[in-house]
Assembly symmetry: C2
DNA sequence: CTGTTAGCGCGTTCAA
DNA sequence: TTGAACGCGCTAACAG
């Protein structure tokens, strides 16, 4: 027993005094219950309960060098794009994290370099055990840095260069190809036979993934995949692209439907349709990606692909948790080799609304 | 000088050794620079720089009982409403917090009771100095609890019961009445003379605030404020309300424009207009509130009121920071009484789009 | 202005 | 299975 708490906060010692054991035993009940006899554990647990004891995170962190904090960067969201779904994602992540005893700490950064600095600071001040990244890309310096530093992390989004070789870190992603496949098939069922794509520039890995789904679905369906535009993810870009593709005199075939790489683009396309006096759904089928709030709230409603963000978040936390629990270098041979970093691909769900329905 | 760091992390002692001073002096350079002579400060600062030293948060927290962490709850966002702007708000908050040396820690909670539990846990584990709340209401149990606990907090959103008496806590809010005033005046300038309101139920304090702006603007303009509906903040509710108000045979006057308490309602109204073959803007003027992404991305664009979220966040952090720095009980009389909790009301900005323009 | 002492609350280590 | 000593890295309180 050490001295009683001085600040009105109950400490390990208070519990120990109450349960008439040493502080160490209380600590063991919390962290290594198997080391404590049933009777003692029972008694200590009751004392913990009665005193409403909660271990002090800072002390624990200081001692054990793990904070149970997960760092997440919040990006500046752009008002001109359909919601990044960041709030949904963050909520899901916070929930999953809480269920495993972690908390989320936000990390704000202006640019990619600043992000590294921010990670570094969070890391050096011992505030964070691991990071969740979003939107990593080929040769992402963040991945390199995190790997070099030996910091735990998991990524929402594949990094394509890793796929071929051995994956070096855990990731979770939504299957964009499957998504555009669903959208394309759905439009074909509505009778469309010239389905175009409004996608992202070809240096976007996510964009290429989604494009693949469109191409392959068209092949499967025996339809041409020949009308396509590739533009940045902005409303105006989608609008302009649609005007271009729908122009009769431009030489190529005129699409009767357009699948888009994002809701932002799809909403731009719908603006263009309105300007041309065409009705989404009836005249030209349109689909988006993300199922952002705007998809449900615009008129007519926009058919889109919903990302299973709750599942993504749960899986990310699961991966991190597994990695953090992994026995550090020198693990007993009997426990078997640690599982290699894994990736999980989750399927999006098609939400059909008026923009793709022929009435 | 104590022993060197054992984990490859540079500590205060490393810096002290390098600068040939005691650890205490380094600490003072960081936390009370005025106590240290210029020469020493200079030398220590250089050592800090050279070693890339960052103080360990846990140790600091453990000792000083302040974590520089601000707790924020992330609510479950509903896909059927225009973005809660939570991501924009969180980003701004994280940025403002960082500029004053704070970090944000997320707090997930399912309900109001769970929220209190979550606050309590974060508090007891010494993980947070203060909280930022959103959407507090009359007799909010959270406010009561936080006040009783003596925890620092600031609220986004007024709590109306406080306004009349002495405010007991700092708040920041956006002036909803001014917002609907702007919208109403704008519509009047477009030639509308029967401007209706689609608002929230009258037990909503925010809703009543916004309604006031509409009523008063109508009075100022010499227009009637007699057509109104009060419904929950959902798309379908807005749609139904518009159908009801626009029905010619219902007895009352038929509005030529509708100001709405939210973008969600306004987008529902626009759906109703489409269903009645009416064009937003040309036939019936419509305005929303929040300037959510959907407002810009829907067709025609929705006129809305942009909330100055960056300013709100900055002010919230400023208030918290001031409160946290405030000298605890027993402050020297010379410093004057601490400023009473203050509130700040910020003006929204009208963003005009097609839904309110007569072309 | 600078240094010494002590200890925040907890978990690792090792002995009983 | 349980406990005593110790120290994680830092800063409050005081002494010089």
């Amino acid at each position: 027993m050490r001295g009683p708490a001085r600040h009105g906060v109950t400490t390990l010692d208070d519990v120990a005094a109450r349960a008439e054991v040493s502080a160490m035993t209380v600590s063991n009940v919390l962290n290594h219950p198997e080391r404590v006899s049933d009777a003692t554990r029972e008694r200590v647990s009751r004392a913990i309960e009665e005193l409403g004891y909660r271990p002090n995170r800072s002390a624990r962190t200081l001692r054990s060098r793990t904070s149970n904090l997960i760092g997440v960067r919040v990006e500046r969201s752009r008002g001109d794009r359909a919601a990044l779904l960041l709030d949904q994602f963050l909520h899901a992540l916070a929930e999953s994290a809480a269920s495993r005893g972690y908390h989320l700490i936000l990390c704000h950064a202006a640019g990619d370099t600043a992000e590294l600095t921010a990670y570094q600071e969070l890391r050096q001040t011992t505030a964070v055990d691991a990071f969740v990244l979003t939107g990593a890309h080929r040769d992402d310096p963040r991945l390199r840095w995190l790997r070099d530093e030996g910091v735990g992390f998991a990524v929402f989004g594949r990094t394509w260069d890793e796929e071929s070789s051995t994956p070096t870190h855990p990731w979770v992603d939504v299957d964009g190809a499957a998504g555009l496949g669903l959208a394309t098939e759905h439009l074909a069922r509505q009778g469309h036979d010239e389905i175009g794509l409004v996608g992202w520039p070809s240096d976007s890995e996510v964009g290429e993934d989604r494009r693949t789904g469109w191409v392959e679905a068209c092949h499967r369906l025996g339809l041409p995949a020949r009308v396509e535009a590739h533009v940045v993810d902005e409303f105006e870009a989608g609008r302009d692209a649609a005007h271009r593709l729908l122009q009769a005199g431009r030489g190529g075939p005129v699409p009767t439907a357009l699948v888009c790489a994002s809701d932002t683009l799809a909403l731009g396309v719908m603006r263009a349709l309105a300007e041309r006096g065409l009705r989404p759904g009836t005249d030209v089928g349109v689909t988006g990606f993300d199922n952002s709030p705007s998809a449900a709230l615009t008129t007519p409603g926009l058919t889109s692909l919903e990302q299973p963000l709750a599942d993504v978040a749960a899986e990310l936390v699961r991966l991190l948790d597994a990695a953090l629990r992994e026995v550090p270098p020198g693990a007993p041979a009997g426990t078997g080799a640690p599982a290699p970093p894994t990736g999980t691909l989750l399927a999006p769900r098609l939400v059909v609304r008026e923009s793709s329905r022929r009435t």
